[in-house]
């Protein structure tokens, strides 16, 4: 059984108690510690900046040409904080409650409470850094409401909140680079963790330009490398987002928790052809005024304007009269899948549903609609060539975020001592489903406010320990393995490109471990993935050399790890005999097709251990809900 090291006392005192009881490193001693931060998104950049401000020697790594390009930058909507500026009844407890409930009672209460507490400080911090949050005419900060909450607590910077928050953290980090406190390595990809005596002692990287494989020792290693939605091939994630850092840590002994908890976003632009490389998200706010429908008759290929009211099925309004088009993400996504699977999909590939603004345009007028959604309509027009003012949008759900990740304790430390996971890379705060505008909050809470304290607890007793030399077998051996793996991809000389394998994997996973999962489908997926992995090892074709920039080679390693992760996701999904949040098992639904949780048997985080070649081993962290009592969600 896993010990999350949750502090004692009432939940609102956990963080304070913890901070006063854990060990600290004194200011003069911090410079004796070298901290490795992998990834420079919200969590990584904020952690690197803060740790450097405190006096630690920080080495930060990104595979981009600049630290500013991490995928946090693409977050649109906003960031939640329990500031209660609108005076509408928000509080730390309410944010905590909403997040636990939104996570379908599969998150760790204590972590979520801390997140809600820190949310307030994040807004102060980011404002001081110059993040241009939206403001009211009086000059004070503006808020808007978001799904899953009854209060307005979301702070935003137009539709580019993630960009502005990331630039704030990036700039804070670059200030430390200028001071010499952060050593920034760009175009450098982490390919393994060096572990010695159960402790992380550094990382192995590959320079993406020269191909050089090198060891970097550190007293602690922080992974802030994001989520793994790209295992589905098509997702809203950036093309380079991958699981390699996390997966390699997992293979070195870090447990991987809840890999099957993935979030599907209901309003994305459907794929237009087989070569579609990624899906683009359209803000959820569109559902406020758009009506979702499909033709009543399957295979109806008439253009939407020719389909009369009588031949349209506004299925969300029909099935969920109370919430209508505004049901939560998971419900809306699944309902769309049901219709498309019945052959009622629309568009050239019959892979979408209509999101129709005709009624809104009539009710509000074009000017108002343009004011509210103009930039989204323009983006849709740019991508599809259709104008939503004239013809309904086509939308379909897409993979968006992964709640699962490396298992961490209250200090954000994984089961490898000295190895930490921050932001989307860990599993702790969102349970089985994440609420909108909470991902930015978690990334920044972890980086700015959690890790700077909790790191001391691990480091303080190690004062005076020197860095493990890069000549140590822990490094030499791992470096050798990394080099061998890289060369192996080049030496297979098969016939299929990396992208082909990735696409095939995506199809298998989306079909069987996507919005709906069944025991049969998952078993089939596991065997399909096994044979795909076998084919990958035999028939992969990567051209070029390892000593230059070689984007296919980079991707080969990432897809290799995705193949292994995908299997674990299916194993996890198969073992979790319940439906909760983003995990919907067809065997576990109510008569009217809603998710049925099994709190008696599955109220735990499933943390899987890697066993080289054998089936993964399950470790459980029981989840106790003392402050938010689990109930069933209903949106009828």
């Amino acid at each position: 059984m896993l010990d999350a090291r949750i502090p004692s006392g009432a939940i609102n005192e956990h963080w304070d108690n913890h901070r006063t009881s854990i060990d600290l490193v004194s200011p003069a001693n911090k410079r004796r510690f070298t901290i490795i931060v992998v990834g420079t998104g919200l969590a990584g950049a904020s952690a690197a900046a803060t740790l450097a401000e405190l006096g630690y020697r920080v080495k930060a790594y990104t595979f981009h040409d600049s630290a500013r390009r991490a995928h946090s930058i693409a977050a649109q909507g906003g960031i939640n904080a329990a500031k209660n500026y609108p005076n509408d009844g928000d509080s730390i407890h309410r944010l905590f409650y909403d997040t636990v409930k939104g996570g379908d009672y599969r998150s760790r209460e204590s972590n979520v409470y801390r997140l809600a507490q820190l949310s307030v400080e994040i807004i102060d911090q980011c404002t001081a850094q110059g993040v241009p949050f939206a403001r009211e005419y009086g000059g004070l900060l503006a808020n808007r409401s978001f799904g899953g909450a009854q209060v307005s607590r979301t702070f935003y910077a137009r539709g580019q909140t993630g960009q502005q928050l990331l630039l704030g953290a990036y700039q804070a980090m670059m200030r430390q680079v200028d001071r010499g406190a952060v050593e920034l390595h760009t175009q450098t990809e982490m390919l393994d963790v060096a572990v010695k005596d159960g402790r992380a002692v550094g990382i192995i990287t590959r320079d993406l330009v020269t191909g050089e494989i090198a060891s970097h020792p550190g007293h602690a290693v922080l992974l802030a490398t994001g989520g793994y939605s790209n295992v589905f091939y098509l997702s809203t994630n950036a093309m380079k987002s991958n699981v390699t850092a996390v997966w390699r840590a997992h293979r070195r002994g870090a447990l991987f928790a809840n890999p099957c908890y993935t979030q599907i976003h209901p309003t994305c632009i459907p794929a237009s052809d087989e070569f579609q490389s990624k899906l683009t998200l359209m803000s959820e706010s569109l559902r406020n005024d758009g009506r979702i429908w499909v033709p009543v008759r399957a295979g109806d290929t008439r253009p939407p304007d020719d389909i009369g009211e009588a031949d349209r099925d506004y299925y969300l309004e029909r099935r969920y009269p109370a919430f209508g088009n505004l049901v939560p993400r998971d419900v809306a996504s699944r309902a769309a899948k049901v219709e498309v699977d019945r052959g009622k999909g629309v568009g050239p590939l019959a892979n979408g549903v209509y999101l129709d603004f005709e009624e809104a345009l009539g009710r509000l007028g074009q000017a108002t609609v343009r004011e509210r959604y103009g930039n989204l309509f323009d983006m849709y027009h740019r991508i599809t060539g259709d104008s939503p003012y004239e013809t309904p949008m086509r939308i379909y759900p897409a993979m968006h975020y992964t709640m699962g990740g490396l298992w961490v304790d209250y200090n954000l430390m994984t089961t490898i001592r000295g190895l930490y996971a921050l932001g989307e890379a860990n599993f702790s705060d969102h349970g089985a489903n994440r609420l909108g505008a909470s991902a930015l909050m978690q990334g920044l809470a972890d980086g700015y406010f959690v890790i700077p304290y909790t790191l001391g607890d691990y480091l303080a007793p190690r004062l005076g320990e020197s860095l493990v030399s890069s000549n140590d077998p822990a490094f030499v051996e791992t470096e050798r393995e990394v080099a061998a793996r890289t060369e192996r991809y080049l030496s297979i000389r098969g016939s299929r490109s990396v992208d082909w394998f990735h696409r095939e994997l995506g199809k298998v996973l989306w079909e069987n471990c996507g919005m709906e999962r069944s025991a049969d489908g998952l078993r089939r997926a596991i065997s399909d993935i096994d044979s795909l992995k076998e084919e990958f090892d035999r028939d992969l074709r990567v051209l070029g050399a390892s000593s230059t920039l070689n984007q296919s080679l980079e991707k080969a390693g990432r897809v290799d790890d995705f193949l292994q992760l995908a299997r674990l996701m299916c194993v996890d999904a198969l073992h979790r005999e319940e439906s909760c949040g983003g995990h919907f098992r067809v065997e576990h639904q109510t008569e009217d097709g809603e998710a049925r949780r099994d709190d008696a048997n599955f109220s735990y985080a499933a943390a899987w251990g890697w066993t080289d070649g054998d089936e993964p081993v399950l470790h459980q962290e029981p989840l106790a809900f003392e402050y938010v009592k689990p109930t069933r969600r209903s949106y009828k």
Partner: protein, 247 residues
């Protein structure tokens, strides 16, 4: 990856501030803008002065000859003759010219260094007009013309204008512009000047940071109007000569 730089520029140099500003590219742009303003005022004044040619003769002297004499007499009797002309017009203008040209030359070098390998395929410009992209050529043409012009009508170098008579402005310009190659040179140079001002009189606002949404859209209009008026004025003289209005 480029090397991480650490030293702050504020510790770097201790030159007088005007020199330290001029050492930067941005400072050179200020210099170009400020000298540009002076030169614009000069060409405007020069153009207006030229129009005296159309006033013809006043008794037995041409009005423009009187005007030329008047410039030399500026400040009299307080100052010696031609002192004001030299001290407040010719020398400052010459300095402005030198700074303007030096800055342009230095910036061109810096810009070339910023793109050592040029684009290997044709560019498709959207905003950079013919005028802005040919500033250095229109500038060179104007400079060469200036040299000619000084030799032709100010100094009266024998080889350039054999019929030059000191003080007889009207006679000098008519005799000079009656030669068709000179006429063409004069007109071509004025067109180059028009292009130069077309961009320059707008650019100086940007370089000096004079911008405000209230008047931003007038800045280009101003530049284009200025270029048009000045060059139309200048061109009226050779046109007048060609049409025998001035003879």
């Amino acid at each position: 990856m480029l090397n991480l730089r650490r030293a702050g520029p504020e510790q770097a140099r201790r030159a007088p501030w005007i020199v330290s500003i001029y050492r930067t590219d941005t400072g050179k742009k200020y210099a170009m803008a400020i000298t540009g303003v002076l030169l614009l005022l000069f060409v405007l004044g020069h153009m207006i002065g030229n129009l005296h040619v159309f006033e013809g003769a006043h008794g037995d002297t041409f009005r423009i000859d009187e005007y030329g004499e008047g410039l030399r007499d500026l400040g009299e009797p307080l100052f010696p003759r031609t002192l004001v002309l030299w001290a407040f017009l010719r020398i400052p203008l010459a300095i402005a010219f030198v700074i303007h040209i030096h800055a342009a030359f230095a910036l061109t070098r810096s810009n070339r260094a910023a793109r050592e390998t040029k684009y290997q395929s044709p560019r498709d410009y959207l905003a950079a007009g013919y005028a802005s992209r040919t500033m250095r050529w229109s500038g060179v043409i104007v400079l060469l013309f200036l040299a000619w012009h000084l030799a032709d009508l100010t100094i009266g170098v024998e080889a350039v204008n054999p019929e030059f008579v000191r003080g007889s402005v009207y006679h000098n310009l008519v005799s000079s512009l009656s030669r068709w190659p000179v006429w063409i040179l004069y007109v071509a140079a004025q067109l180059a000047l028009a292009f130069h001002i077309w961009h320059g009189a707008w650019s100086l606002f940007q370089s000096l940071g004079v911008n405000n949404p209230r008047f931003n859209r007038f800045r280009r209009t101003f530049a284009h109007a200025f270029a048009t008026v000045v060059v139309a004025g200048f061109l009226s003289v050779p046109v007048g000569v060609a049409l025998d209005i001035v003879s």
